[in-house]
């Protein structure tokens, strides 16, 4: 279709067993080869990242007896960005007796992912969801409880059953602390060797297997190699390619991208989730976007002025001059339409020039009606902490003035391609959590990210990685040419970054890239826009390598250098994202392609041509990549068009 890539051989997930879907995970667990307990302590597993997936994996692997080396760029493993997840974690416990089941969670997730996820994986996720809650409660995660002492649930993200477990608005924090404490227990017991403030800069692939990583000690600048029998990446998503996102400032794609360059396929890179209720940008100085819980849409009404460029204070705009656009366009769901639809509708009205606040990038989320209906006290009881947070950031009182919200990049469904065993296309390289592409298809449901991260780390990886290790990993010399090559390339790259001494800062490149990606590869994409981005990105990348200014030296804490390495990789990833978005000429999930819509402007999925996972193979920077398609088969949940009108 396009000339900028090559279509290669299709790819298949060879590890997922056949048979009835309910029995596949059971079958796989029986099918794996086991590692003799006595041999486990001779095997070293490298785990990069200490979020939900990484910390739970490292702790669980150490509990099994493996020698684990765990790495994170933060000063403590407890700071990984899973900590910021607010809403909750789904589990098919059916504690509410409201008709929930493993099958329903499976069904909702496949449907929510707009039929772009693997059925086998999603079913396994739904099965494991119940064990996760048990595990976390046993660890002392203080979930919300009812007066009877049993766990409370809420409904979340448009589902019709209450299956979300939560700890106020800090569920991610509490789950991560549970995993972190399990990890620290293993650190103390000697099962895990922890390397905080160490950033992975290269993957070592020797004789076709992932055998180690090259890291930089971010305090001393020392370049170290760590070798092992398998490598696990739990390095999160790449939403920061957009510069402004709800991700932590340090979140980056470097570990995944380095693995991609070494042969791991990157799947569905263009699948990005945009969250509708974030606090809008207030100026050029903006460094990140803050998410507010989606639950606000339960009682707030979204509107903009009917007239363009109306700058009156919201209270001065009479009722008949307001456009409650979600209620107007989607009468049955109103303000509660799914994330992607709410986000896109907000963008549409802002593009029409009807946005509010600085720069016209915002819509009102108005609680006046709710305050009148329920009373101020009831609104405060329900949303008090969110209102407080909003006021802290904007200086405006949402009890008096409507909130302003705007969509922001929140999560990336795409990631490194993995099979049912969570193994990438490089043998011995496993990828867990947001870093892999696996379970959310083209759109992630609310409260599912925490579930997936913990399912991968606690329950799936510890079983499947054993199968790889049990089959034997040949011994390798510490001075294998692949090791030397990896170290040299890292050092050369650092020296290059420090020696350019140009006239633009790393952040200025990152901002420009982010703006370009947001405009052309964000909520709504067009062929023309994507082609424009595909032209501009290589230019920007070239300018970066000629004109970036990175002060300081390599042998000390150098935050500019850290950022420069990350942005350099974003500049390569961005191109692949745009290419993936361009080739996928359909609208699906969080990805709206302007050329593929129904007559009334809704997303139009194209199952005939695009019911596959796009797994990209790297061939060289700026070189056309190879597309491997993994066809998706739906035996249990039959594809249907979503409708929220």
């Amino acid at each position: 279709m396009y000339s900028d890539y090559i279509v290669g051989e299709p790819i298949a997930d060879t590890k997922a067993p056949d048979g009835p879907i309910e029995g596949r995970w059971e079958a796989r667990r029986f099918g794996v080869k086991l590692v003799n307990p006595a041999n486990k302590r001779k095997l070293t597993i490298i785990v990069v990242g200490t979020g939900l997936a990484g910390a739970s994996a490292a702790a669980s692997l150490a509990e099994l007896g493996y020698r684990v080396k765990s790495f994170c760029y933060q000063d403590s493993p407890r700071r990984a960005h899973s900590i910021a997840a607010q809403g909750g974690i789904n589990a098919a416990k059916n504690y509410r007796n409201d008709g929930d089941s493993v099958h329903r969670l499976f069904y909702d997730t496949v449907k929510g992912g707009d039929f772009r996820a693997r059925e086998s994986n999603v079913h396994r996720l739904a099965e494991i969801s119940v064990q996760i809650i048990d595990q976390c409660v046993a660890q002392g995660v203080p979930f919300a409880r009812e007066y009877g002492g049993l766990l409370d649930n809420r409904s979340f993200g448009g589902t019709q059953v209450s299956r979300t477990f939560y700890a106020k608005g800090q569920t991610g924090q509490q789950l991560l602390l549970g995993a972190y404490q399990a990890l620290q227990r293993q650190v103390d017991a000697g099962g895990v060797e922890m390397f905080a403030r160490h950033e992975m800069l290269e993957l070592i692939v020797a004789d076709g297997r992932a055998r180690g990583i090259v890291v930089r000690d971010m305090v001393t600048g020392e370049i170290e190699t760590h070798l092992g029998d398998a490598v696990v990446l739990a390095t999160g998503g790449y939403g920061n390619v957009f510069y402004l996102s709800t991700n932590a400032k340090g979140c980056n794609v470097t570990a995944s991208w380095r693995a991609h360059r070494k042969g791991a396929y990157f799947a569905n890179p263009c699948y990005t989730q945009i969250h509708p209720t974030c606090i809008p940008v207030s100026g050029d100085h903006q460094s990140k976007l803050t998410l507010m819980s989606e639950s606000l849409r339960n009682d707030g009404r979204v509107w903009v002025p009917k007239a363009k460029g109306d700058t009156r204070a919201p209270a001065d705009i009479p009722e008949d001059e307001r456009d409650y656009f979600l209620e107007r366009r989607y009468p049955s769901f109103g303000n509660l339409v799914p994330r992607d639809i709410a986000s896109r509708a907000a963008k549409t009205v802002c593009d029409e020039g009807r946005g509010v606040g600085p720069g016209g990038l915002g819509v009102f989320l108005d609680f006046a009606d709710a305050i009148q209906r329920m009373g101020r006290a009831a609104v405060a009881a329900k949303y008090g902490n969110l209102f407080q947070m909003y006021q802290r950031i904007t200086g405006e009182d949402p009890y008096e003035v409507p909130m302003r919200i705007y969509p922001a990049v929140h999560y990336t469904m795409g990631g490194l391609w993995v099979d049912y065993d969570l193994q990438s296309t490089i043998p011995g390289l496993f990828v867990v959590g947001e870093a892999n592409f696996s379970d959310h298809g083209a759109n992630r449901l609310g409260a599912s990210a925490l579930m997936q991260g913990l399912a991968d780390g606690y329950f799936i990886l510890p079983v499947t990685i054993g199968d790889y290790l049990a089959r034997g990993v040949p011994p390798m010399a510490n001075d294998h040419p692949a090791v030397r090559e990896a170290v040299t390339s890292v050092q050369e790259r650092i020296n290059k970054l420090l020696s350019i001494n140009g006239s633009r800062t790393v952040d200025s490149f990152h901002r420009e890239l982010g703006r370009l990606m947001w405009d052309e590869c964000g909520m709504e994409r067009t062929e023309a826009g994507l082609r424009k981005a595909l032209e501009r990105i290589p230019e920007l990348r070239q300018e970066f390598w000629e004109n970036v200014k990175v002060p300081g030296s390599a042998d000390t804490l150098n935050q500019s250098l850290e950022k420069a390495g990350r942005v350099a990789d974003f500049l390569e990833l961005a191109e692949l994202m745009c290419l993936d978005a361009l080739h996928r000429a359909e609208s699906c999930g969080g990805h709206f392609r302007a050329e593929s819509q129904t007559p009334d402007g809704e997303a139009l999925r194209d199952d005939e041509n695009f019911s596959y996972v796009a797994a990209w193979e790297f061939t060289g920077t700026g070189q056309p990549p190879v597309l491997h398609k993994e066809p998706l088969v739906f035996e249990y949940v039959h594809p249907s068009q979503r409708s929220y009108a």
Binding site: S60, D75, D134, R145, L150, Q173, Q184, T290, S508
Partner: protein, 257 residues
Amino acid sequence: MRLTLKVWRQSGPDDAGRLVTYQVDDASEDMSFLELIDVLNERLILDGEEPVAFDHDCREGICGACSMVINGEPHGPQKATTTCQLHLRHFRDGETITVEPFRAGAFPVVRDLVVDRSAFDRVIAAGGYITAPTGTAPEAHSVPVPKPQADRAFAAATCIGCGACVAACPNGSASLFLGAKITHLGELPQGQPERYSRVLSMVEQHDAEGFGGCTNTGECAVACPKEIPLDVISQLNRDYLAAKTSKRKAGAAPAKS
């Protein structure tokens, strides 16, 4: 707005360090304090100077990475707010603001405003957990937890491990951090079997890291961005006393290797 910043600059652990004065003329009151440092850093880089190193990550008040002392107060003057969520509208135009790293013997300065808080990780490693290896958990509803206990455990568990309590304490004590974890796990039925061994090991590690003793000045609870209450320290004392005097102690404290 115009602000004068006096920022602690220290090139490494062995450098003596000093305050350096910078002028920022193009600050906006909608900026967060960290965005102010971003603006300063962009200018420093273009002027060929090294930017100010500081810890930060989530910038939404939950990761606990940001760690500066602003005008003598950890995380600055606004109550219950981390530095990343502190906005410049809380300062006056033309104000001079002093920015220093967290000061504590157990938190050595790495560079500029960055300190090493790994002592906290080691205090947790010493016993700040419930031993529940993956796969061993009973059904979640098998042990009900009374709501008041669950709520108190949660309130204590919201500690973000930033270290402001230590930075604020004239004794450099981490008792609030320690008490928060002791209270979180000690309130839950799941935390009971290790309750005594936990407090003994964690207190021992706390002291071994060089944190000072608590004299109940109450500075920590005021500085805490998550408003962890002072009574967690009381809980810590109570559990410690019980552990020291209890017959269960001998059996409950496994030898640490």
